[in-house]
């Protein structure tokens, strides 16, 4: 398979005050070229950390004891590996906080191009105006001269999408790019992303908190729980016939399409005190004795999926109220 990004067995730990937090443990996923892969999971499960590992901006206290991140034929995970600036576009979570308020938004994007895109400043400006038009910013020429606070939230996210595209990247990574926006604006920005993906054949890793967004945008999906992949596969298959107990419970209780376990005892365990064995076992209705000791491997499943639960079949028999 021709992949834009391959992550193999990625582990990220945070060290501090004698504690070691296993933020990510054995993440394996692939973004096929020209398609959108979603990452879903409750807040705190490590989605942003995964993107930070890809972008090379893990916090200083983080270590990566295992894993590889293969991009354009090389491993970009090691600290000394050259980072793929310009080749990976980043759409951050919060458009209000991600632009520096004291510099013109256009200049902030032009600075990225100055460092990572070929061409002169005039060419960069012309290209940026084109991009502003593509992301449907009103009055693209004037937008170059404005400061971030002079744009609305939705417009700022459009600016950041333009910024993500400014160096013709081979991959886009987006971290819940619509959660900070109101519902109407969310829909517009999602529509724009969908259109850009189709028109430009983008490869994208898309973190989301929302099953509705997942269904409408992503070809493939990885469901994360407490820093591990619980289940992955084609979006339709995972949403229609969820297999891992966690995925099944999630989909059974999502009133507002948000990825959250409601009415189930327990919470995502703190990263410094992960239970041994399957990290979901304290909350799993079909947990077996071996679940407390053995880390369930991610095993191939029907419909091109992979599931990290040897007892998933039991879920079929279990009644979910």
């Amino acid at each position: 398979m021709d992949a834009a990004l391959v992550i193999e067995d990625l582990a990220v730990q945070l060290r501090g005050r004698g504690e070691v937090a296993d933020i990510l443990d054995g993440i394996t996923l692939t973004v096929p070229r020209g398609s959108v892969t979603g990452v879903v999971g409750e807040s705190g499960c490590g989605k942003s950390t995964l993107l930070r590992a890809i972008l090379g901006i893990l916090p200083g206290r983080a270590t990566t004891p295992r894993g590889r991140i293969l991009f354009e034929g090389r491993d970009i995970l090691p600290a000394r590996a050259a980072k793929p600036h310009g080749r990976i576009g980043f759409v951050p979570q919060d458009p209000y906080l991600s632009l520096n308020p004291v510099f013109r938004a256009g200049d902030q994007i032009l600075e990225i191009m100055r460092r990572h895109a070929p061409g002169t400043r005039a060419e960069h400006r012309a290209k940026l105006v084109e991009l502003f038009r593509a992301v449907q910013l009103p009055d693209p020429e004037a937008a170059l001269r404005k400061y971030p606070h002079q744009f609305s939230g939705g417009q700022r996210q459009r600016l950041l999408i333009a910024a993500a595209l400014c160096c013709d990247p081979a991959l886009i990574v987006a971290d819940e790019p619509t959660t900070a926006l109101d519902v109407t604006t969310q829909r517009e920005v999602l529509g724009l992303l969908r259109e850009l993906v189709r028109a430009r054949g983008l490869s994208m890793l898309f973190v989301t908190h929302d099953f509705g967004v997942l269904a409408s945008l992503c070809d493939e999906v990885s469901v994360l729980y407490a820093g591990r992949v619980a289940e992955s596969g084609p979006t339709r298959a995972v949403l229609d016939t969820p297999t891992h107990p966690y995925t099944r419970m999630l989909l059974a209780c999502h009133p507002d399409r948000a990825v959250e376990l409601l009415g189930i005892p327990g919470a995502v365990p703190p990263a410094t005190a992960q239970p041994a064995g399957c990290r979901f076992h304290p909350r799993c209705p079909v947990a077996q004795p071996d679940c407390r000791q053995d880390v369930p491997p991610l095993l191939p499943w029907s419909g091109g999926r992979a599931v990290a639960c040897p007892h998933a079949a039991r879920m079929e028999a279990h009644a979910l109220a």
Binding site: R52, L55, G56, I57, K83, H85, G86, F90, P92, D94, L97, S98, L99, N100, P101, V102, F103, Q108, E111, I112, R115, H116, Y147, H149, Q150, A163
Partner: protein, 335 residues
């Protein structure tokens, strides 16, 4: 922006009028009868009454206040009780010396303070950070006059490196008064040697005066930079591949100094009052020494005029600071 500047200037007018009125009130609450003071010890009651009439002191108090404001606005600050000369003229003679000293000190404090604060923040909890913290605690704790004397002992007496007092070595030549700023006037007449000499004279007093402000600015810059480094937009810029230098020195610093700049405005007041002690030690012919002289000779006219002038300068500096802040942070002017 132009609108913002105009508005900011307009806003400082009531404060200045208030200041003028305040000096008027102060001049009326000084103990004793001003007319008697003016007339001298051996004056007869008739002479005192005549002076009272001459100075309008027998008119209703409100009318006197209006007259006072009008006089001040036309540049008439009265005559010195000590020398009998117009106070405005005497102050005009000495103001540039103080302004030059405080501006150079402000410049030093700002430049070094921001530099040290940045270095400390980028080396958070490292050796440089500790060193800067030590300097800033010391800078705030040391009394100016003590530091001034110590510097004189070391640099002037012991090592003979820098001059002990004054603004210029008169043996080197005369400088005509163009602006009253030595650094400007020496260059204007093309005497680079005199310019350097003026700089050497400025070094010790300016450093003494700058140190507490430098310490304050370093502390504010350090905490500002540390705070900004945590911001999402810094993480975003790192992800986007900004250069390290650009990120630290431009991208982060510009945000961090928005707080620092406010401090610079407040600092100026402290600098001017600090100048009194520093000018006295270094025999600097500025407003500070003038004020000391006025206090010693109970010249309340001169003292009030000095208060007024310092107030005006303070207001001007604060307008400048607000404008600088609006330039650094475009959100300020749009509010």
């Amino acid at each position: 922006m132009a609108l913002y500047i105009l508005r900011r200037i307009a806003l400082s007018i009531p404060a200045l009028l208030g200041l003028i009125l305040l000096t008027f009130v102060l001049s009326r609450v000084v103990p004793g009868d001003p007319a008697a003071t003016l007339a001298g010890d051996s004056a007869t009651p008739a002479q005192i009454a005549q002076i009272r009439a001459q100075y309008g002191l027998d008119r209703p108090i409100l009318e006197q206040a209006v007259i006072h404001v009008r006089q001040v606005l036309s540049g008439d600050l009265g005559n010195s009780i000590f020398s009998g000369r117009p106070v405005a003229e005497e102050i005009w003679q000495r103001l540039p010396a103080t302004l030059e000293l405080t501006f150079v000190a402000l410049f030093l404090a700002t430049l070094l303070g921001i530099g040290l604060g940045l270095v400390a923040a980028l080396d958070h909890n490292g050796p440089l950070d500790h060193l800067v913290r030590l300097v800033s605690v010391g800078g705030l704790a040391i009394a100016s006059f003590w530091l001034a004397i110590m510097l004189q002992l070391q640099f002037s007496m012991e090592w003979n490196l820098l001059p002990l007092r004054g603004r210029l070595d008169v043996a080197l030549g005369q400088v005509p008064r163009l602006t009253g700023f030595m650094l400007v006037d020496t260059l204007a007449i093309g005497r680079f040697d005199l310019f350097l000499d003026a700089l050497r004279h400025l070094a010790l007093p300016a450093f003494t005066l700058a140190l507490p402000g430098l310490a304050t600015i370093a502390r504010f810059t350090r905490s500002g930079v540390l705070e900004v480094l945590q911001k999402d937009y810094v993480l975003y810029a790192r992800a986007a591949g900004y250069g390290r230098f650009r990120l630290a020195a431009i991208y982060v610093l510009r945000n961090a100094v928005t707080v620092t700049v406010t401090q610079v405005g407040l600092l100026f007041g402290a600098l001017v009052s600090g100048a009194v002690a520093v000018e006295a030690v270094f025999d600097w012919p500025g407003l500070g020494t003038y004020a000391v002289q006025a206090i010693l000779s109970a010249d309340y006219k001169a003292l009030l005029a000095v208060t007024l002038v310092i107030g005006v300068v303070y207001a001007v500096v604060n307008v400048a600071v607000d404008v600088a802040q609006a330039i650094i942070d475009p959100r300020v002017a749009d509010q």
